[in-house]
């Protein structure tokens, strides 16, 4: 009995130090007015940090943008990811090269590729296409609203990188399905479209659930890429940048903690829902 707990101790210690302690501390801060700007230390303020967001227009804007961003990128990544996976699932000449091309966006270090995108979309002044991109940015912002160009940039980058990952994930999913299942469908159904919906999609359901969830979490937690692609000028705030602003720029640790913690129950709910829909638990085996 004692030995069992001793054996578990390293894992428990690790979880406590890297997960339970920081999250617990953040939860505590979210109930205080801790800030580097006041000298008296933290005072307990109850749920005030949470409640203030209900009437905060900036929060609601950030929330709407975040949800829109997450939904849009997830949809785009799923469609592209499935297309990549289906393309790569069957052998053809040069498949290795295509696989490399598909996988590269994900394999390449984000910090480097994000700069590449930034310079492409907001080129440095001396480059030949800088005036053209400048015009494009202005006209997009003018037509859709300020921040549209930034939104587009962040969305493009997220989809570019994420569809690569989802493509490879779903390819692994397709490869895990016995090929006879697809052949069997071929014997009964000629239309590739129907086979896709009746056989391929249901067989890939657990992988799709995982893909959607990972896509949503990266979209919700996307702070670094938004920050880098907009050079810190967050003309449209998402929850991540909003929390960063509150904590680092405004020094409101309590409010920032409350804001980021609010994502946890939301994402947890999404996770449960996704797995209920996409990957229902099977009834007991025979």
């Amino acid at each position: 009995m004692v030995a069992a707990y001793l054996l578990l101790a390293p894992a428990i210690l690790l979880l406590v130090t890297v997960l339970a302690y920081p999250v617990g501390w953040e939860a505590w801060i979210s109930l205080t007015d801790l800030s580097p700007l006041n000298d008296r230390g933290a005072t307990f303020v109850g749920l005030q940090n949470y409640l203030r967001f209900a009437t905060d227009a900036a929060f609601w804007q950030a929330a709407v943008v975040t949800v829109g961003f997450a939904a849009l990128t997830t949809l785009a990544k799923l469609v592209l990811g499935i297309a990549f996976a289906l393309l790569l699932a069957r052998p053809f000449r040069g498949r290795a090269l295509v696989f490399l091309a598909v996988f590269l966006p994900w394999a390449y270090p984000a910090s480097v590729s994000v700069m590449g995108w930034y310079w492409t979309l907001s080129p440095p002044i001396p480059t030949a296409y800088a005036p053209f991109m400048g015009h494009l940015k202005v006209s997009v912002d003018h037509a859709v609203g300020t921040g549209a160009w930034s939104f587009l940039a962040v969305t493009l980058f997220n989809v570019w990188r994420g569809s690569s990952f989802i493509g490879v994930l779903l390819l692994a999913g397709i490869n895990a399905v016995p090929p006879e299942l697809f052949e069997c469908a071929l014997l009964d159904c000629r239309s590739a479209w129907r086979r896709f919906w009746l056989v391929t999609v249901p067989l890939l359901r657990p992988f799709l659930a995982l893909a959607v969830f990972l896509s949503l979490t990266t979209a919700f937690a996307d702070l670094a890429n938004v920050w880098l692609l907009t050079a810190g000028r967050v003309v449209f705030p998402v929850i991540g940048t909003q929390a960063y602003w509150l904590a680092i720029k405004a020094g409101q640790f309590g409010a920032a903690s409350a804001l980021s913690l609010m994502l946890v129950p939301f994402l947890l709910g999404v996770l449960l829902l996704l797995f209920k829909v996409f990957d229902p638990p099977d009834e007991a085996r025979a």
Partner: protein, 363 residues
């Protein structure tokens, strides 16, 4: 119901010539088994009939239609796969109904057909379950049921029993045979198991390296194999082969091997005459060897030493050594012999096989 015709059928992959000039006429209502070691082209041939593999050259006709360019769905075949290939997300009923739904059958008709098939296979109680909740044997029944409901012109079976344990395999084999007698649908069945081939097939096609070696009724393959490969592949334990030289004058030929010398029966003498002075391969089935008794003529008897004794209950398999040659003899369970005992064995002279040493064809 239909016949299946394969004419000069060939399949080439980049490097591999998997099926070579296969010509086969499968008659209406016939149960034909393709058998051979792995890589012999049997599955590829079946998959070409199904339309899952493209035909490199040649022609396949089902009924009176050439199907080379027909998609699988329009060939009017139903296939049973080795790993069952049941859709895990559908119930047994939906699995069985899938092909009919895709062909836009009326709901009542689908219900009727699935009901009938479930009745035949005894899986009525399982219709609402998912494949995961079934045992291997039940899954196999469902896979067969899914083929039956289609009322196809031809059933294609790709090693359907290979994933079952030995006991269940024997049981399902009998059921498949019974089913074929009841449905009378043309069937092509692929297996690497020669016992399955012999018990199920009206005719058996033995393949090796992409070539058809022999086509015939099971007993014909057993008694008159056309070459050494078929002789060794059909029958268990496998036929014994001994390298011998043909000697003597016409009328009294003998086969002389190291440590074994047998007279050649008059029935074989004429065909073996031209081989005088040459080496050939002598084939003796284990069941055509017995412990020599007084009635056995001396020219058909040889001495050997027991190497291994395998008592199987109903019989004993004796692994013996005659000179450098290892042979297996199937003897009565009452025989009492130990390892290293000397034993005098007699052959059944009417059942000796001879094969040309160079082209391995039966002489």
């Amino acid at each position: 119901m239909a016949q299946v015709l394969m004419k000069d059928l060939n399949k080439k992959y980049d490097e591999v010539h998997a099926v070579k000039d296969v010509n086969l006429h499968i008659r209406d209502k016939e149960f034909v088994v393709l058998v051979g070691p792995s890589g012999c082209g049997k599955s590829t041939t079946l998959r070409m009939v199904a339309g899952l593999e493209e035909i490199t050259a040649g022609e396949i006709a089902i009924g009176d239609r050439v199907v080379n360019d027909l998609p699988p769905k329009d060939r009017d075949i139903a296939m049973v796969f080795q790993n069952y290939a049941l859709y895990p997300h559908m119930t047994v009923y939906d699995n069985m109904a899938f092909g009919l739904k895709m062909r836009k059958f009326a709901k009542a008709e689908i219900q009727k057909r699935v009901g009938e098939a479930a009745e035949i296979l005894g899986i009525h109680d399982l219709l609402k379950r998912k494949p995961r909740q079934l045992s291997g044997g039940q899954r196999q029944r469902v896979a067969v049921g899914r083929a039956i409901v289609r009322h196809p012109q031809v059933f294609l079976f790709d090693e359907p029993l290979s994933n079952l344990d030995a006991k269940l395999r024997v049981q399902m084999r009998v059921e498949l045979k019974r089913l074929h007698e009841r449905l009378e649908t043309t069937a092509i069945y692929v297996t690497h198991d020669q016992v399955e081939a012999m018990t199920l097939g009206d005719r058996v096609v033995v393949m090796k390296d992409g070539w058809i070696q022999q086509v015939g009724e099971p007993l014909e393959l057993y008694t008159k194999p056309t070459n050494r490969f078929v002789a060794g592949f059909i029958g268990s334990p496998a036929m014994n082969f001994v390298d011998v030289a043909i000697q003597g004058s016409d009328g009294s030929l003998s086969a002389q091997g190291t440590g074994i010398r047998l007279a050649i029966p008059p029935a074989n003498a004429a065909r073996l005459g031209p081989y005088k002075g040459q080496r050939v391969t002598l084939g003796i089935r284990p069941e055509d060897l017995h412990i020599a008794a007084g009635a056995d003529q001396a020219p058909y008897v040889f001495d050997a030493v027991v190497d291994v004794v395998e008592p199987l209950g109903s019989e004993i398999l004796l692994d013996v050594k005659a000179g450098p040659n290892s042979l297996v003899a199937r003897v009565e369970p009452t025989v009492r012999l130990k390892v290293h005992d000397g034993v005098r064995l007699a052959v059944n002279p009417e059942r000796l096989h001879f094969f040309d040493s160079t082209n391995e064809k039966a002489i």
